[in-house]
């Protein structure tokens, strides 16, 4: 292999590469700690000063020390040097240190290529469209810089010419077909669940305490997307309860509900109409799989390897979901979840009635529960009593109920009487247990937003909800949602109203008296409509993006291949063949593209070319050093028939081409054409005969 051409890096080249580095970091802004950014900025500045002030480059020892410091910093921050986040940090730091070593072409190329890698791993953090586009732009700029580096070594110009930018753009576009074919046919490894991306988990958390759910009310991020088969009977939005997981244990001291460990629960779903849903779940890093009340395992979830139905009638994935997934699940709408055998097993019953640290409960709460028990009689009655308590005792529903004291339950039930769904649910759960009704909390989402453009529903984090299920003999686990009682609007129209409410008033205590201050989060109506519309459209774009690009997985590939009629075993062969075909086609197309004439020749030069070609065909090609007149003279010797016309042509051509001005260009041009025509005729009449 040959050593590289030229060496040495000029200042503008360095600055441009540093700019590319800066852009690459820009893509990673949320992914790396601020101190790293500061350190990198310092190193970049140092390198800049080295050029400006002609300071010598730091020694190997210095650089090694810097590298060691970097390693320690990464270890301190992440505890490891492997893995996505730590690896990214390490890479950024190492590139900054490498800049201090930048001397030759080889260093320049190494940095450029590592910048490619550094930029694209931003996609491991975020696969949304904006990030992807940004990554593309930055990679394009790095490429343009490379092209410029290899075409204009001597120039000390800052920005590449338009021609080179256009060239880079062209190359990228021309590479796209091959990229797409490779993408579609490259045999995919079966990485079903994906690997832990070190995600920052958002959305639901596995424990419930006041604030867990209400904290999500302003979060408009999509929790998941649902599509129903065409023509299916979809329940109205207010009846859409999405199950995520069940909380069984409560601790009276902290008023916190947790999942607990219920190993088995034998139940059966009775009645209900089956409804199939196709759910697209982003990477959550958690195991829960959402489905409408009540999911069933006949038919089981598709794909079957994804997860199983667990106690509490929730689907749980076998491994945490680290990749955007799509699955099909069937739910029985309106079914009853009845324990097999009619009654709850003793174990379940015990768990569903237990309250840890029961003695810490406020006696008033216990008394209240007992009053329900007295007045209600059986389980159904107790539930009724409780709900009527909520309905008639002036309870309010708000997302900003203010902070509660230690004794939240009593405060909520007797004093403040304002709260969000978690307050109601936790209170109801405790009350029911105290009254002897086995209960559990179900966390999930309620409602959805319909997108007419794509005919799908979006469930946002703001739809997060928690409700209670109490066990009523003969009816099974019954859904009890106090929120319906207290704020039918919340259920009917979604969190919007509650949000608006939350944003518009503030309760302040002045001299012991609560005063409500109203302030508007006012938006003009047309803007709101516009934003909503934009939101819907964007959801549609993201849905297409998901479906065609992000979710393309081994199953999709198999489906595609089988549609085309290719068996699974031939995957590798198809890949190689398709890639080679498209590669060859790409090369041919680009070749053809580069042959396109860009510059139009002067008319006399075109005629001159035709003249030469014609005479070459006749057997007298022009020698390279021959001028037009000498050439014509030689032609006259060898082909006497065309000699005169050839010499006429040559003289006129020389006059036209080399004289300072020609009075009458058009006359000269037509004379050229006439001579050429005469030559053509003469040559056609006589077969060419080259003498000598």
């Amino acid at each position: 292999m040959k050593s590289s051409l030229n060496s040495g890096v000029t200042a503008p080249q360095l600055y441009r590469l540093q700019a590319c580095f800066g852009l690459g970091i820009l893509v990673h802004l949320g992914n790396v700690p601020w101190w790293l950014l500061l350190a990198v900025a310092a190193l970049v500045y140092w390198r800049w000063q080295i050029v400006r002030a002609s300071v010598p480059l730091p020694s190997l020892f210095t650089r090694a020390c810097l590298g060691a410091v970097l390693f320690l910093g990464v270890l301190a921050e992440f505890g490891t040097v492997a893995g996505r986040d730590s690896g990214t940090m390490l890479m950024i730091g190492l590139v900054a240190i490498k800049f201090l070593e930048l001397r030759s072409t080889r260093d320049y190329m190494v940095i450029s290529f590592v910048l490619y890698f550094m930029t694209l791993i931003a996609l491991l953090f975020d696969q949304s469209i904006p990030v992807f586009l940004l990554v593309l732009v930055v990679m394009g700029l790095i490429t343009a810089n490379l092209v410029y580096y290899h075409s204009a070594r001597q120039k000390r110009v800052w920005l590449p010419t338009r021609r080179l930018l256009r060239l880079t753009g062209l190359m990228l576009i021309q590479a796209l077909p091959l990229a797409l074919v490779l993408f579609i046919f490259f045999p995919r490894v079966q990485g079903k669940f994906g690997f832990n991306l070190g995600l920052a988990k958002s959305g639901l958390s596995q424990e419930l305490e006041p604030g867990s759910i209400s904290g999500l009310i302003f979060d408009d991020e999509m929790a998941f997307r649902v599509e129903f088969p065409p023509g299916s009977a979809k329940p109205p939005l207010q009846h859409m309860y999405w199950r995520a997981f069940v909380l069984w244990d409560v601790d009276a001291r902290t008023n916190r509900w947790t999942m607990g460990r219920v190993r088995a629960e034998r139940f059966a779903l009775e009645g209900g109409t089956p409804l199939r849903q196709t759910i697209t779940l982003p990477a959550t890093g958690e195991k829960w799989l959402f489905a409408l009340d009540h999911p069933t395992d006949r038919p089981p979830i598709e794909p079957t390897w994804l997860g199983r139905l667990r106690p509490g009638d929730v689907y749980e994935a076998n491994r945490p979901v680290n990749r955007k997934m799509q699955y099909n699940v069937t739910s029985l709408i309106g079914a009853n979840l009845v324990a097999v055998g009619g009654a709850l097993s003793p174990d379940i019953s015990e768990i569903a009635l237990e309250i840890t640290n029961r003695r810490l409960l406020n006696p008033r709460v216990v008394t209240l529960a007992e009053s329900f028990q007295e007045k209600g009689g059986d389980a159904a009655g107790i539930v009724r009593e409780m709900l009527s308590y909520f309905r008639t005792e002036g309870f309010r529903y708000t997302s900003l109920p203010g902070s509660y004291s230690e004794d939240m339950l009593a405060d909520f039930l007797f004093e403040r009487k304002t709260g969000y769904c978690e307050h109601y649910a936790t209170a109801a759960g405790v009350l029911l247990r105290l009254a002897g009704v086995p209960s559990r909390l179900v966390i999930g989402y309620q409602g959805a937003e319909y997108n007419p453009y794509g005919d799908f529903y979006i469930v946002k984090q703001a739809n997060a909800h928690v409700w209670v299920e109490g066990y009523v003999p003969e009816e099974g686990w019954v859904r009890i949602d106090p929120t319906v009682i207290v704020s039918p609007a919340r259920i009917a129209s979604g969190p919007q109203e509650v949000r608006e409410e939350a944003g518009s008033s503030l309760t302040v205590e002045v001299a012991g008296q609560p005063i409500e201050i109203n302030y508007g989060d006012w938006q003009p109506e047309w803007l709101e409509a516009l934003l909503d519309e934009g939101d819907l459209r964007w959801q549609q774009v993201e849905e297409v993006w998901d479906r065609w690009i992000l979710s393309y997985n081994p199953e999709s590939q198999e489906r595609l291949l089988s549609q085309v009629g290719v068996q699974r075993q031939l995957r590798g062969v198809v890949f190689v063949v398709a890639s080679l075909l498209v590669a060859v086609a790409t090369v041919a197309l680009v070749w053809w593209w580069l042959r396109r004439p860009e510059k139009k020749l002067e008319p006399e030069q075109e005629l001159w070319t035709q003249y030469q070609r014609l005479l070459a065909w006749a057997g007298v090609p022009r020698r390279r050093w021959e001028g037009p007149l000498d050439y014509a003279a030689r032609v006259a010797q060898i082909l006497p028939k065309v000699g005169e016309s050839a010499q006429d042509f040559a003289e006129t051509y020389v006059r036209l081409r080399y004289a300072p001005q020609t009075a009458n260009r058009d006359a000269a041009l037509s004379s050229l054409r006439a001579s050429l025509e005469k030559i053509r005729q003469r040559l056609e009449k006589t077969p060419s005969q080259v003498e000598g």
């Binding site: 890698f117 204009a152 070594r153 001597q154």
Partner: protein, 299 residues
């Protein structure tokens, strides 16, 4: 020009490593977008190969000029690099092997249809008659991962005169008894008239200004010769090595030329009549350069 040949650069290895790492990341994290970018980079590498080829396809090298120099100084020569295509050509490196070493020159860009002159400078080898055999043009445009190379046959001759060395004064002037009477010996520098130019004569004395005025070609005639002729004989330098003799002879020739004298050369087996002027100087120096050297010795 030979055909276009590809070679992989060191940098292609680095890119290969990076692409492999990207593949690992894509498979490990099962990330479709990373797959897409990976394949896009691959595609671009393939496409860039075509651009590399097209860049070089219409490039040709033709011999330029070379100037005879004395051994011990720098050899300068030029090459013509021609871009025959309709697109600009970028980033060429021209390498010429001279005297066992390689001289390199760089061209950033050649406009369509243009010919650029590249100048190469290298220390001159020993005295002799040489030829530049080949030149290689290389380019790593556009991405630096793939190089293309073409070779051209030059056969461009150049001459290295012997090194100038020697302190001896001129040998004695030989006065030619025969010509002293005429006084009209041609070859002096006193102008005394014109006559018609005879085809085949050296063109040194043609009155060009008259030709520009439209007159036929006339030769100016001078007199004033007979001042004596200087002979530089080989035999006069007995006791010196061959190279030293040649160096001294060269020194005399250069001095005589500077003083505008007539001088001739006597070498074993060769004789050069006294004359003067640039051509005469070159002729004699070349004879010295090629003394006992095979003609056209390659570099």
């Amino acid at each position: 020009m030979s055909g276009v040949r590809f070679y992989a650069t060191h940098h292609s290895l680095i890119l290969g490593l990076i692409l492999f790492a990207t593949l690992l990341a894509a498979v490990n994290y099962d990330n479709n977008l990373v797959y897409l970018i990976l394949f896009w980079l691959l595609g671009m590498a393939v496409v860039s190969a075509v651009y590399s080829h097209r860049n070089m396809a219409a490039v040709s090298i033709k011999p330029g000029a070379s100037w005879p120099v004395f051994a011990g100084s720098d050899l300068r020569f030029t090459l013509q690099v021609h871009n025959g295509s309709l697109q600009p050509v970028s980033a060429l490196a021209i390498r010429v092997p001279v005297n066992g070493q390689e001289v390199t020159a760089f061209l950033d860009e050649i406009a369509p249809g243009d010919t650029e002159l590249v100048e190469l400078v290298t220390p001159a080898p020993q005295r002799g008659l040489y030829r530049l055999e080949t030149a290689t043009v290389e380019s790593e445009f556009p991405l630096g991962i793939l190089g293309v190379r073409r070779e051209a046959t030059l056969q461009q001759p150049y001459i290295v005169y012997p090194e100038l060395k020697g302190e001896s004064p001129f040998p004695d002037i030989v006065y030619d008894a025969q010509d002293q009477d005429a006084g009209t010996r041609s070859g002096g520098d006193d102008f005394y008239g014109v006559r018609a130019y005879l085809p085949g004569e050296p063109q040194r004395h043609i009155d060009w200004k008259a030709v520009a005025r439209g007159m036929p070609m006339m030769v100016k005639q001078f007199t004033g010769g007979g001042a004596g002729r200087l002979w530089f004989p080989w035999k006069a330098l007995d006791g010196l090595e061959t190279e030293a003799r040649l160096s001294q002879l060269a020194q005399w020739i250069v001095q005589a030329d500077e003083e505008n004298l007539f001088y001739g050369l006597l070498l074993p087996g060769q004789q050069f009549e006294p004359d003067k002027g640039k051509e005469h100087r070159h002729l004699l120096l070349t004879a010295l350069a090629s003394y006992q050297r095979g003609k056209g010795e390659p570099t």
